[in-house]
Symmetry: C2
Subunit: 247 residues, 2 copies
């Protein structure tokens, strides 16, 4: 059994993950926001590599069904309907809609993971459900890659902590001795020793949290740190993130 | 006071470090090997981006004074005089010579750091001396970047541990409360809590150590884990790594 953590998508090639299970985390905020959007009735989220790419993708869809969402430097992209805040993803706003989403770190991570099978989107807000889905995939495949979005191609504490939390939840105690972990998985585990099971402590220590607070997104931070608010497990397949268990 | 750790050179732009102190670590093995080469009488080490680049650089130097050194996939580059093993850097071999060196991770990290001032090369084998030089630079500048070479653009445990060790040695206890650390510095510190002051434990847990052992470089690993074998502090300046205190 093999567990690999990647702190950023840099250096992850599709042949490393093609056909193999991947869990993508971008706690602050894209994976939290995607979970909220789909849990609240959004039909699908289409990750876009850039604002321009989002506009192109949206042009191929029925105008009334689509919402553009995303951020640059944490703020909503000008002209887009939504930013990247999970609090914007209310049933009234996203119900029945397809979101085309461009964010700085989260959507590039999803696109880097898309050769995986399945590609599971995890956050604190769907922690238990996502961990259970990832554990099933891990048992079947005998391996799992946890891909952190990171920040600007660099290490992000909140995602690394989340990777550690997922790793701990996914790998049964009896397997831990036989488990092959990469260097990043070892380091992620240490962050769990440090911060324990308090999402708030780990998230608040991160640079992303400081920046979100400075821009008035304190409520997003609180939302992102609340575990198991939802039981949905978003899956990326064929460039669309949906809740396939809904059929 | 600001302390930044980067687990890989990816995303580090020269304007982030131009004119500011940088400590470069590639414990397995380039920074260890460079320290050994200069401590044993090597005149200079010139980092090259690739084997081709190394050949070009060597052409501009007196043939008798130059040794080509470097590795691809841990093994010596065909046609080069030396690999990337610190054990090759004996006084008989490197005394008075200029080494032109191309390695997979270490020399790209040095080239990424070259806008810094000073650019200090640190390893376990010159730990105390390098930490003292970095501490002086940190106090003067009010900031320090510790750049890990990493492996193939990804996190490497042994370099992250080394970054944590240097961070701990460099920042006086009284300053720690006022210290601004980036996310990677926080995580590096946790690795020191985990592995304590035993370089061997941290190094042996790394993927690089497993690969070195598999290829017969067990002695390199032991050498790299022995702290303070040397008191020299290599400095990169104008594309040359030398021991400037020698005048």
């Amino acid at each position: 059994m093999k567990l690999s953590v990647h702190f950023t998508p840099v250096g992850l090639s599709s042949n490393m993950i093609a056909g193999r299970p991947v869990l993508v985390v971008d706690i602050l905020r894209a994976s939290t926001t995607i979970v909220a959007a789909l849990a609240n009735g959004g039909r699908a989220v289409l990750p876009a590599a850039s604002a321009e790419d989002a506009l192109k993708l949206a042009q191929n869809l029925e105008r009334d069904d689509v919402l553009l969402a995303g951020e640059r430097r944490l703020e909503k992209i000008p002209g887009f309907a939504l930013g990247n805040s999970p609090l914007e993803m209310t049933p009234e706003t996203v119900g029945g809609k397809t979101l085309v989403m461009a964010t700085t770190n989260g959507t590039p991570a999803l696109l880097a993971a898309e050769a995986g099978r399945p590609v599971i989107i995890g956050a604190a807000v769907n922690f238990t459900a996502a961990a259970e889905a990832a554990a099933r995939a891990f048992e079947e495949a005998g391996e799992l890659t946890i891909l952190c979005a990171g920040r600007e191609k660099q290490f992000a504490l909140e995602d690394a902590y989340a990777a550690g939390r997922f790793a701990q939840a996914i790998v049964p105690g009896k397997l831990r001795r036989r488990l092959e972990m990469n260097d990043a998985a070892i380091a992620a585990r240490e962050l769990v020793r440090r911060y324990g099971t308090k999402w708030t402590s780990a998230l608040n220590a991160s640079a992303a949290a400081r920046d979100l607070k400075a821009l008035g997104f304190r409520a997003d931070l609180k939302f992102a740190a609340e575990p198991d608010r939802y039981e949905v497990v978003p899956i990326l397949n064929d460039r669309r993130v949906t809740l396939p268990e809904r059929g």
